[in-house]
């Protein structure tokens, strides 16, 4: 069969054609919403019209078979209308209240998990990992699955002082921008990369490689037509590997993950914040990363039992102080938590007022 005629630069389809009639009618005229359960909410328009949303978890990697099953549900109860959230959940858009209980029943029967709305833990923003990335120092999807199995009650029912956003990045490139999450896992290398000098001269550009290093650890090695890496300056970021494949940084026994906490992206009450490093290293332990899961769960539980209502993790820590965070969680404080990269002067304490 002949191929259809290709078209270029048409852009995405117009969103309006995908909206259910109740949205089309009340577009831009929503008045308020209420969270009914961790998996359902209702939006009410100025006109009095209502739209119910049922949110379910997704592993983000979806087979076409599962997408079709999601379509089946949407056709049965939502006139075929659904959307995805920015954190990869699926939202069924229910226009008729009498479909609300039946869709929930149907989703439960099919094994979909409802939740993720409000003060709990919703889906995890993450990167490709071993599933599909050349740069991965761990598997993001496996970490997410292992953490969320353990934290699942916070998705489905159990509540926290505020929402808690998790993220996983499988290397410091952080395609998932984990740097502003309540708790994030970032995979790290811990060993100076090895340069394959023979391949270097054919595959890499000297100025690009030298320029890629944030700590100026790379210098030319004219004799070998390659580069040298100064082990005293290298912080194993892997940016040289990104621009030059013959610089190998993967190391199964030394690659691991670090945990950063206390970031947020909204401006509610306090400004957006970066996440800060509290656990510098845990070994990669696939398939279930038990120590990482235990560490995250522990931090969630200490936050849950100490923070005030509406305080995000980072706001709670700022109120009690980082020294108290370390004492309450019992996490060892190490040299890695003291910035010796670019921000030391902004992050050291400059007052004698702290807690014991």
């Amino acid at each position: 069969m002949a191929l259809p005629q290709r078209r270029t630069d048409i852009g995405p389809p117009h969103y309006r054609q995908f909206m259910p009639p109740v949205i089309d009618k009340n577009y831009g005229k929503w008045k308020y919403h209420e969270v009914l359960t961790p998996g359902t909410m209702v939006h009410v328009a100025e006109s009095g019209d209502k739209l119910w949303t049922v949110r379910v978890a997704s592993p983000r990697i979806l087979s076409t078979a599962t997408i079709r099953e999601i379509c089946d549900v949407a056709e049965k109860f939502c006139g075929g209308h659904l959307r995805f959230t920015t954190r990869n959940n699926v939202e069924f858009l229910v226009s008729d209240e009498k479909n609300l209980e039946p869709i929930k029943k149907d989703l439960t029967a099919r094994g979909f998990k409802m939740g993720g709305i409000g003060y709990g833990i919703t889906n995890v923003v993450h990167t490709q990992g071993w599933v599909h990335c050349h740069s991965a120092a761990t598997d993001a999807s496996g970490l997410v699955k292992s953490m969320m199995d353990e934290l699942f009650p916070y998705f489905e029912s159990k509540r926290l002082p505020n929402k808690l956003r998790l993220a996983v990045a499988c290397c410091v490139n952080m395609c998932g921008a984990v740097h502003c999450s309540d708790i994030a896992i970032v995979a790290v290398h811990t060993k100076v990369p090895v340069v394959d000098d023979d391949k270097f001269k054919n595959m890499c550009e000297l100025p690009t490689v030298i320029g890629a290093c944030p700590t100026r650890a790379i210098s030319p090695d004219p004799a070998k037509k390659s580069v040298k890496i100064n082990p005293d300056k290298c912080m194993y970021c892997g940016n040289c590997f990104t621009v030059c494949p013959p610089i190998s940084i993967k190391n199964p026994e030394r690659d691991g993950v670090a945990i950063v906490v206390g970031g947020k992206i909204n401006s509610l009450r306090s400004n957006p914040k970066f996440s800060k490093l509290v656990i510098p290293y845990i070994s990669n332990e696939p398939p279930r990363w038990p120590k990482v899961v235990a560490a995250v769960k522990h931090i969630v539980e200490v936050y849950a039992s100490h923070a005030r209502k509406h305080e995000r993790l980072g706001e709670w820590i700022e109120r009690i102080g980082w020294e108290r965070f370390f004492s309450l969680t019992g996490i060892d404080f190490t040299f890695q938590s003291i910035d010796d990269f670019t921000f030391m002067r902004d992050t050291m304490r400059t007052a004698s007022t702290f807690k014991w």
Binding site: T53, I61, P214
Partner: protein, 409 residues
């Protein structure tokens, strides 16, 4: 089809959270590529290492972005993933779909690809994971003839993305869905044909809740805001109190500017002192809502840590009105790209170039005056640049003061 023994990743099929391994196996039932991806992943779990090579340059005719080449080092052992390229499809604004549209996407993908997807990628695209080089033109013809175009990749404008906006949210201060659609259409050339120093991301959030993480994840963050008062429905305030909300500690006490008061009957807001953080509005959505002039704050520069540390976006334009056809915003974006083009080295994001060249030179180039809303605090050091024009202006001001006998600081 080869049957792989996968004891390690099988453990990730247990537990309540939906399993990506189950999804991969589902796709692998009828698809050689997905089946080999399952075996390939088990290998990674066994050795604790990845085997994907750096992306090669593959694409469709006339486009430089949208397809990411992916090859495995283990192509002989797992021929189904020897080529396993990604196709990025530009998602509709707000991730709204009909089942008909999704089925269409799936049908084509099953025919030519692995049957595996990401709904969605970090930037927002529909990510179709795993196909071969010789299928790319066919895939593009199938999708584009049905109204789906590719998204961005490489050193180009990445696919713009937004929150749900006026589609289903009462807080959106401008039409995020329309703006993102409009900008995406306007900048098709920049999206499909990489001509920048590096990537450029645009994200549009309707309010300071920033559900699309624009302040942390986009070079150009558009965050909705307003200039009028917060309207108060006192009856609804009372309803919140009756339902158990402690208005003093949960609302008034948590207001960052302390511009609210409550005497048990009436909630008051000193609107001039409000910084529009959205805490009170988001907790009392039935009682409080913004009013008056609507628009957005433009912030710029955020990115992940490579190369010299993460950045959050900086306030550049405190307030801009955003109404179709968004001429002022489009002109601004073009001016910004021109300056970036003139000043960036390869692989330098705009935030890094602004840091390198100085905020002043950037603001002057795009014609934005200095404003206290742009900064957290003024500089702490006395090492300043003075241009001749600056000094001439200060001298002129002093001459004026001598004439009028009144100081203007």
């Amino acid at each position: 089809m080869k049957k792989y023994n996968t004891p390690l990743i099988d453990q990730l099929e247990k537990g309540p959270w939906p399993s990506f391994v189950t999804e991969m196996k589902k796709a692998g039932k009828n698809n050689e590529m997905a089946n080999d991806a399952v075996g390939h992943l088990e290998k990674c779990y066994t050795t604790k290492m990845g085997y994907w090579k750096h992306g090669g340059i593959v694409g469709v005719l006339g486009y430089g972005g949208g397809i990411i080449g992916r090859y495995s080092e283990l192509g002989e052992e797992f021929p189904g993933v020897a080529h396993f390229h990604t196709v990025r499809l530009n998602q509709p604004s707000g991730f709204f779909y009909t089942s008909k549209a999704l089925r269409e996407i799936c049908d084509i993908w099953d025919k030519y690809g692995s049957g595996l997807t990401n709904m969605h990628g970090s930037t927002g695209d529909i990510v179709l994971l795993g196909t071969k080089t010789d299928a790319l033109e066919t895939i593009f013809a199938e999708y584009s003839s049905r109204g789906w175009d590719l998204g961005g990749s490489g050193s180009d404008l990445r696919t713009p993305s937004c929150c749900v906006g006026p589609g289903r949210c009462e807080w959106s201060n401008y039409d995020t869905l329309d703006l993102v659609y409009n900008l995406t259409q306007e900048f098709q050339d920049e999206l499909h044909r990489p001509m920048f120093s590096y990537k450029f991301k645009i994200k549009a959030a309707g309010c300071a809740c920033d559900c699309v993480a624009s302040i942390a994840r986009s070079d150009f963050s558009i965050i909705g805001t307003w200039k009028g008062d917060i309207l108060i429905d006192q009856k609804e305030v009372q309803n919140y109190a009756k339902k158990g909300m402690n208005i003093m500690s949960e609302i008034v006490g948590m207001c960052p500017t302390q511009c609210m008061s409550y005497d048990g009957k009436e909630l008051k807001i000193d609107n001039a002192e409000c910084s529009r953080c959205m805490h009170c509005i988001s907790k009392m959505t039935k009682a409080l809502r913004p009013s008056g002039e609507r628009g957005a704050t433009i912030c710029m520069g955020s990115k992940a840590p490579i190369v010299v540390g993460s950045l959050l976006s900086w306030v550049i334009i405190p307030f801009i009105k955003l109404e179709s056809p968004y001429t002022e915003l489009k002109e601004l974006i073009r001016k910004i790209w021109d300056w970036w083009d003139d000043n960036a080295k390869p692989r330098e994001r705009i935030g890094e170039v602004i840091e390198m060249k100085g905020m002043r030179s950037f603001l002057e180039a795009i014609g934005v005056p200095p404003m206290p809303q742009q900064i957290k605090e003024p500089r702490k050091d006395p090492f300043m640049f003075y241009t001749e024009a600056d000094i001439t202006a200060y001298k002129a001001k002093e001459a004026e003061e001598k004439k009028t006998g009144k100081y203007r600081f």
